[in-house]
């Protein structure tokens, strides 16, 4: 297993970019892209090895004995018994691959950034490296270090290269994340000392019985702390403003992987370590998740800003992840993990359409000012329709596989939960179709927006032939993402096998 090289390669890329002269923009872009591709290839190669291994294990023993592949485990700071411990399992693996894809496509969609290219890609790759680290850390302290490492670059990426109210959005996002991580920090200290102050290792801590009353108050600290970043209602308000303010690649990263950091943390740190705390709080989580699902979809329906629609839709879809985790049955939890991957791709794709393909060309995101773009940039329209279909859970796309399983799992938990969450599906259909209609179809709207948009005569689809065509990097990136949606949608076992094997382990009480 060399999957840890994803972290090192990405950091290497950061170092290399810092050394390059700031004026050689193309060189910097290529270095960033090659770094991203190299890391992705490393991740993919080991992914398929792992998948084969899991399948072999299952056919040999019927189930996994131990889901973790250890990568490295060395003493780091003996004074607090923390280790540099990296390992992967079937739950973190899809997310590592997701991060690789979002990184590569994010770089492709950022090809048109012209200001301060060097700093942009340095911050971008630092964030990516932090995310890789979180998904591999098996030591709470190490996980926290990587987690924080992924927070700070977001501020700069949004505040420097963002748009609408960028400084406000950036600060809000970072402070929300940081308050969340403060809760996690308190929780980590509490669990460390409750377990005797001997280890930060998640797998070791999971074996250590922690008193029930401690579990009951520490579990919500860690769960909510990570949940903030997962867009958990009512702590989700950073997500729409942050997504809207962020430049395209950063929105993709935020919705695509950073929100998954939150839900992954909820699973890996909170749920694994505090079974009794989880038992005590799971109904709360489930209902809060359902509120988030319906609320996010409902609010998305009434937005006037294209990007806000996608932003609130992320809150709704992440609610599915939390709901699936709370079901505590095989089908629901497997759906939740798959939903993390699926939503990561869907959100990246949709934000790329909104931010890069539409906004960078028309300089407006107001639904009323857009229209008829299907004729001008048909590729964007196709991309949006495919992403939207996956988002609303159309069979044949990954979103269907994931959300269907979550709803079945929720139904097993309580039928009302599934029914309430299911309400969001017609809402999703409505807001996606509405956006599609307003942006790409209705021709009798002036396009171009902003100051010069009003100079055009209304009522002619030909009023914006001036829009530059979709560039090759955009096409490549969009095709990669769409292909993933279809591959996982048609052939889900490529991912679901390993997820299920590990969820089974979790449900049996093994770490």
């Amino acid at each position: 297993m060399q999957v840890d090289w994803t972290i090192y390669l990405t950091f290497l890329g950061v170092g290399l970019i810092l050394l390059l002269p700031r004026d050689s923009k193309n060189l910097i872009r290529w270095v960033a892209l090659l770094t991203g591709v190299a890391a992705l290839l490393v991740a993919l190669k080991d992914y398929f090895n792992y998948n084969d291994w899991v399948n072999a294990q299952i056919s040999a023993h019927g189930a996994l004995q131990d889901g973790f592949i250890q990568i490295v485990n060395v003493s780091w700071i003996p004074a607090i018994n923390t280790n540099y411990h990296l390992a992967v399992d079937g739950i973190s693996y899809p997310l590592i691959v997701l991060n690789g894809f979002v990184c590569v496509t994010g770089i492709l969609f950022s090809w048109n950034i012209e200001t301060r290219v060097k700093e942009f890609f340095a911050f971008f790759l630092t964030l990516i490296a932090g995310v890789y680290g979180v998904f591999m850390s098996m030591d709470l302290f190490l996980l926290f270090v990587f987690y924080e490492l992924a927070i700070i670059p977001k501020y700069f990426v949004i505040a420097i290269w963002g748009s609408t109210r960028k400084e406000y959005g950036a600060m809000k996002l970072v402070l929300y994340s940081f308050v969340g991580s403060a809760l996690v920090f308190i929780g980590i200290l509490a669990v460390y000392f409750s377990a005797g102050g001997q280890t930060f290792d998640i797998l070791e801590l999971a074996k250590h019985p922690i008193a029930r009353d401690v579990q009951v108050w520490v579990f919500p600290l860690i769960f909510v702390g990570f949940g903030v970043l997962a867009g958990m209602w009512p702590f989700h308000t950073w997500a729409p403003t942050g997504h809207v303010a962020a430049p395209t690649a950063a929105s993709m990263l935020l919705a695509g992987v950073v929100m998954k950091l939150g839900s992954y943390g909820c699973f890996r740190a909170a749920m694994l370590l505090f079974p009794q705390g989880l038992e005590h709080w799971r109904w709360w989580i489930a209902w809060i998740a359902v509120i988030g699902i319906v609320y996010g979809a409902g609010v998305a329906l009434v937005q006037k800003d294209f990007k806000f629609i996608i932003g609130y839709s992320s809150v709704s879809h992440m609610g599915f992840v939390l709901l699936g985790l709370a079901t505590l049955n095989l089908i629901g939890m497997s759906g939740a993990i798959l939903q993390m991957f699926s939503h990561g791709i869907v959100a990246s794709l949709l934000f790329a359409v909104v931010g890069r393909m539409v906004y960078d060309r028309t300089h407006t995101r107001q639904l009323d000012e857009l229209g008829g773009l299907a004729k001008v940039i048909p590729f964007a329209c196709v991309t949006f329709v495919i992403g939207g279909a996956a988002s609303m859970g159309m069979p044949g796309f990954s979103g269907f596989v994931a959300e269907y399983q979550i709803l079945v799992g929720a139904f097993h938990m309580h039928p009302i939960l599934a029914l309430a969450a299911g309400l969001s599906i017609p809402l999703t259909v409505a807001y996606i179709l509405n956006a599609n209609d307003k942006v790409f179809m209705e021709q009798d709207q002036p396009a171009g927006g902003g100051g010069h948009g009003h100079d055009h005569q209304a009522g002619s689809g030909e009023s914006h032939p001036a829009l530059p065509p979709i560039t090759p990097p955009e096409r490549v990136a969009a095709i990669i993402l769409m292909a993933l949606l279809v591959i996982v949608g048609v052939y889900p076992s490529i991912m679901l096998n390993m997820i299920k094997a590990n969820v089974q382990l979790f449900l049996r009480g093994a770490p």
């Binding site: 003996p78 301060r116 501020y155 700069f156 400084e167 920090f185 308190i186 200290l189």
Partner: protein, 508 residues
Amino acid sequence: MMPVPVPYFEVLKGLGAEVILTLTAFIALTLDLASVRRADMTVRSRTIGTAAVVGLLASILPLWQQLGGPRTVLLGGTLAVDDLIIFFKLVIVALAVITVLISMDYDIGRHVGEYYAVLLFGAVGMMLLISAEELITIFVALELTSVSLYILTAFHKGELRSQEAAVKYFMFGAISSAFLLFGLSYVFGVTGTTGLRAIQDAVKHTGGLGMSPLLAAGLLFTIIGFGFKVAIVPFHLWAPDAYEGAPTPVTAYIATGSKVASFFILLKVLFIGFAGLQGSAYWGNFASGWTMLLAITAALSMILGNCAAIVQHNVKRLLAYSSIAHAGYIFIGLIAATRMGATSVLFYIIVYALTNLGAFGVVAALSSRAGGDEMQNFDGMAKRAPFLSLLMLIFVLSLAGIPPLGGFFGKFYLFASAVQKDAQHFGLLWLVVLGIVMSAVSLYYYLILLKHFYVIDASDPSPIITPTYLNVALGIVALAVVALGVYPKPILELLNTFSYSVVAGLVR
């Protein structure tokens, strides 16, 4: 009593570094008078600064030879030399070297020789303070340090705010000295001795605070006196003005060297001298003693320092309030009153000093070229001075406690030591929670500061060139800050071994 002959040779040998620094100070004075008085101001500053650096580096030699040797006491126990003390003297030397390097690039006025001489006298004071183990010596060393810093603060002779800062600093300092002396006299009155270790024994015999209200008064006044020196709320009022008004290299010196020495001696006084008087700061279970006093001041400092920093527009003032908040964090480690607590405090003051020194160094280098130290003077620095801006990013994020930088691990260890103290009932968790919540608040103003460096565009985009030696020096400081966060193991183990001599009295 027969007068004991003073073994002068032993004393000079034990204090070799201090002797070298004192001599260097005189050399700096005469060098300025004798040879370069008529030269250009930059040449003068660089020549004498170089001499000071050479002297400081030379003072490492005797320290290095003493390292690893047995613990020795000089002059009947007033001064001690052991590994921990030598280690911190080395830290002071390092801080002084960087301060001198920052000063060489800064306009410090006409009195160049005097400036470096006083700076070196300050270093001597700090080093004596670190080795002092007796109340009178502590007081004298503290005064030597403080008086040097008062003078340095006033070095911008033409500037009103420098004068105001110096007067304010001096007045507060004088009052705090009075408090301290008053408190120490009570301690002496009750225990009949001035040696820290003798006080420890005496306190244990008298039965602690309950038996002696006078001792309680002595403890209270001593803590107030030290509270002024380390700028803890409610004794912090001098700090923002002094930090803002003083020439920036001097601010760096006040914020780092003097803080390190003051915290070190406070740790020794509390952990050795008042070892029997901790009391308790557990939530809902307060008992009178110094941990309770410290807990209250720590809580106030973290709240007020962080909240007041939010509204600052001047970078130096902002860093002043931030350092008030940091004094609060450091107190959490003192309140733990364990070996882990001592190690965490020692580790944190090193990280804190390096980080602040770096931050003030960048501010000094850039503000003199950008026309001021208000926040907006630093707009767009990421383009004008990319390297120093990157360093500033590291320093400020370390202050905010972002991993993998030193500030994060230091803070983590401080907080961990407090939780560990009463791990069954989480007695000190309230302070830790407050500290963590306030760290989240602090991120806001640190990011505002970085926003000026990185986000806002400059009105004057001309690049700023800083001398290479300064870039290298500050770059090394930044590397140290990163290294202390990524791989704190060696220093931590060293400090943990050394700290035994300080905490021995706490173990009962």
